[in-house]
């Protein structure tokens, strides 16, 4: 089944400051979109607003997932629909093991989609976790560790990808998942995203500063966000142009428009 996330004319303020000023974007199953842009252009805000952070106020526009208005929903309900956010700075959850956390998460999602569903027994779920961590070459000992507690920056990013693999979302938004990763880790993470995309038809919205991660993936669309708007969209060629020439021309072209 094809899933579709439609963002229309999205305006978002954070603490009374207008950050997004009319974003239009449609992401379907089987598509990989990358959003690039200078610091402060609103890329992360887009992710947070789409996932329903309470501090991000939607002042105009609509967001629907398979036709459902998600702006009315709490973040957990959006997760139940199949939306996922990979955090740039994942939070620590002391005292709660990665494995237990994920089991609760998957059970909650299953329950929301099928009231009759039974909780997955811990032993059965452990195998799922094992596949998850092995997929990003994390040691299995992480399953029994408190989530993100004492993890290095790179380990936290890998753990986000494990969560994505285990939760099997329909659309994954990944906020600078590549920052702080060395080249080996970057390849592993990119491959895991690409695999989920190919195996499950997962749609991807990738926020990144660098073209590097795209070298290991097959992005269908590149968008450039400047000052709260998508100013240019194109195919992966666009990433190459950005890498060579920077954002300057897009910022200027924006100002000439204005």
């Amino acid at each position: 089944m094809e899933h579709i996330l439609e963002i229309k004319n999205l305006h978002v303020t954070v603490e009374d400051q207008q950050i997004l000023k009319g974003v239009d974007l449609t992401i379907k199953s089987g598509e990989i979109h990358a959003i690039m842009g200078p610091n402060g252009s609103g890329k992360s805000t887009l992710c947070y607003a789409l996932m329903g952070h309470p501090n991000y106020e939607i002042t105009d526009g609509t967001v629907t997932f398979d036709g459902v208005d998600v702006l009315e929903l709490d973040p957990d309900k959006r997760a139940h629909l199949g939306m996922f956010l990979g955090f740039q700075y994942p939070r620590e959850v002391p005292g709660v093991t990665f494995g237990n956390f994920m089991r609760h998460s998957v059970n909650a999602i299953n329950k929301a989609n099928d009231a009759e569903s039974k909780p997955i027994p811990p032993g059965v779920f452990y195998k799922t976790m094992l596949e998850g961590v092995e997929g990003v070459k994390m040691d299995k000992s992480f399953i029994a560790r408190a989530l993100n507690d004492g993890f290095s920056g790179g380990e936290k990013k890998r753990a986000e990808i494990v969560q994505m693999r285990v939760m099997k979302p329909k659309i994954a938004m990944l906020d600078e998942i590549d920052s702080g990763l060395d080249i080996d880790a970057l390849k592993i993470v990119a491959k895991a995203i690409q695999d989920a995309h190919e195996e499950q038809g997962m749609g991807v919205l990738l926020i990144t500063h660098y073209q590097r991660i795209l070298d290991y993936m097959t992005p269908h669309f590149i968008h450039i966000m400047v000052n709260g708007k998508i100013v240019k969209s194109g195919d992966r060629e666009l990433a190459g142009i950005l890498e060579r020439e920077g954002y300057e021309q897009f910022i200027e072209s924006k100002s000439t428009v204005a």
Binding site: H53, D76, G95, A146
Partner: protein, 472 residues
């Protein structure tokens, strides 16, 4: 019979989702009138057919209680009406060793609380107190053969008078504080444990304390003597029905840990929100002995409790791990006390408190190191978690160090459940309540992990219940 009457339902239902709030209609054998008089104290002693010295002990304690002013520190105790309490309620004729012999309505209560089942599954022995008296006590036979004594304390006074007299009130004298004096005057029920030299009791011993009647005062005393090189783990659980008026629980626990012995005393207290819980718990640890208090405080209206260890001789160790959860209209004033009286003694205090819906939790602690207690070490860590802006947490640590050659550490943190952390958890499909419960259970996990598995599961479930409906 056991199902609450219509009228009781009316009282119970609106009050809370407290699962243990049921009561049973119980025909007590004797119930004292309300209020505390010399006559009642004499009556209790007479009913129990006590030796003369115990009656004198009680009357002296009553005098001390009447003379001592109410404590003016800690929690607000002005709501206690000493004249509106039944000080002694005798539920059955005598304690028995077989669950089948326990009167039906009392048996049903403990069955609903899962007590006999726990004994069958994972305990070396178990006891149950209903109102003022132990109604049941049983110990595995092989332990009895090794000389272990696990009895109702009233039985022990009769059956082991010398041993009893040698240790009773030697750790907590009646004059220690007003509520220790009250307990000493009207004490009834509790456990008596003696573990002979070198005997290790692998499985825990458990006692369950249940207040059933309204306006009831429960004043049990527990006395544990672990002889040289022995070890024992004692677990107590407590619940009461939910009534609109208050009850009082004021216990005294005394523990003697002889050289090389180890005692762990675990409490999972879950009183209903109308109970004043004012308990004095203290242990003496001798050479190379180890005392471990693991104290989990949920429920009650007010709790004041500071498990204490006196480190009497070199090499003695104290560990006090505690959890306090203060919900709406609750004040948990809890903490720990350790007195280092000898060289090379060690103490570890770790306290975790959670406050929600306007609840208040306070850590109140004392670490005292006597002159000449050289080479002693103490580490105190208190962490507080606030679930909302209406709730409150305070820390009152007192350090009284009279020796230079010591290592003392103290850390305290206060954290709030943050929006970012909640958002992170909710983005994984957890509801607001599930997310907050997970954060709380994670917060106390380092202490819960020290509980035997069955109790750890129970503890997590209790937290879940406390968190129900807590998010608006």
């Amino acid at each position: 019979m056991a199902a609450p009457t219509k009228n009781q339902e009316k009282v119970l239902n609106p009050l809370s989702d407290y699962k243990y709030g049921f009561n049973v209609e119980s025909k007590s054998v004797f119930k004292s009138g309300k209020g505390l008089t010399e006559e009642i104290v004499r009556k209790i002693s007479e009913y129990k057919q006590e030796p003369e010295w115990m009656l004198e002990f009680r009357l002296n304690a009553l005098k001390i209680f009447n003379e001592k002013p109410m404590p003016q520190w800690g929690a607000d105790l002005n709501g206690i009406d000493f004249d509106n309490i039944h000080y002694y309620v005798k539920p059955s004729d005598r304690p028995v060793r077989d669950w089948d012999d326990v009167p039906d309505e009392i048996k049903e209560t403990f069955e609903r609380l899962g007590v006999p089942e726990a004994e069958r599954k994972f305990l070396a022995g178990s006891g149950a107190q209903f109102e003022s008296e132990m109604v049941y006590h049983n110990l595995q036979e092989d332990l009895a053969k090794k000389g272990v004594i696990f009895d109702g304390i009233d039985e022990a006074l009769k059956n082991h008078p010398e041993l009893f007299k040698e240790y009773f009130a030697t750790v907590v004298p009646p004059a220690d504080n007003k509520f220790a004096a009250l307990n000493s005057a009207v004490w009834s029920g509790g456990s008596f444990i003696y573990v002979p030299k070198g005997v290790h009791i692998e499985l825990p011993l458990q006692a369950y304390f249940r207040i059933n009647a309204e306006n009831m005062g429960q004043f049990e005393r527990t006395l544990i003597i672990a002889d040289e090189g022995s070890s024992v783990h004692y677990v107590e659980g407590c619940t009461a029905p939910t009534y609109s008026s208050d009850s009082l629980h004021s216990a005294v626990v005394e523990i003697i840990v002889k050289p090389g012995a180890r005692v762990q005393y675990t409490t999972i207290q879950n009183w209903s929100n109308n109970v004043y819980n004012l308990v004095t718990k203290r242990a003496k640890a001798f050479k190379d002995a180890e005392m471990f208090w693991l104290d989990c405080n949920l429920g009650s209206k007010v709790t004041m409790k500071y498990p204490c260890v006196l480190l009497m001789e070199p090499g003695a160790k104290a560990e006090i791990q505690s959890i306090a959860f203060a919900g709406k209209n609750q004040h948990q004033d809890a903490g720990a006390k350790v007195i280092h009286l000898a060289p090379n003694t060690t103490s570890t205090i770790n306290s975790k408190s959670i406050s929600k819906a306007g609840g208040r939790s306070s850590y109140r602690g004392l670490v005292k190191v006597a002159h000449n207690a050289k080479g002693s070490k103490s580490k105190v860590v208190c962490d507080a978690l606030l679930l909302d802006a209406d709730s409150r947490s305070d820390t009152y640590p007192t350090m009284n160090i009279m020796e230079d050659d010591v290592t003392i550490e103290h850390e305290a943190t206060v954290s709030k459940i943050g929006e970012e952390q909640m958002f992170y958890l909710m983005s994984r499909g957890l509801s607001e309540q599930e997310a907050a419960t997970m954060i709380v259970n994670g917060f106390i996990d380092p202490i819960v992990k020290m509980l035997p598995m069955e109790y750890a599961i129970e503890m997590n479930r209790l937290i879940e219940m406390e968190m129900e409906g807590s998010i608006g």
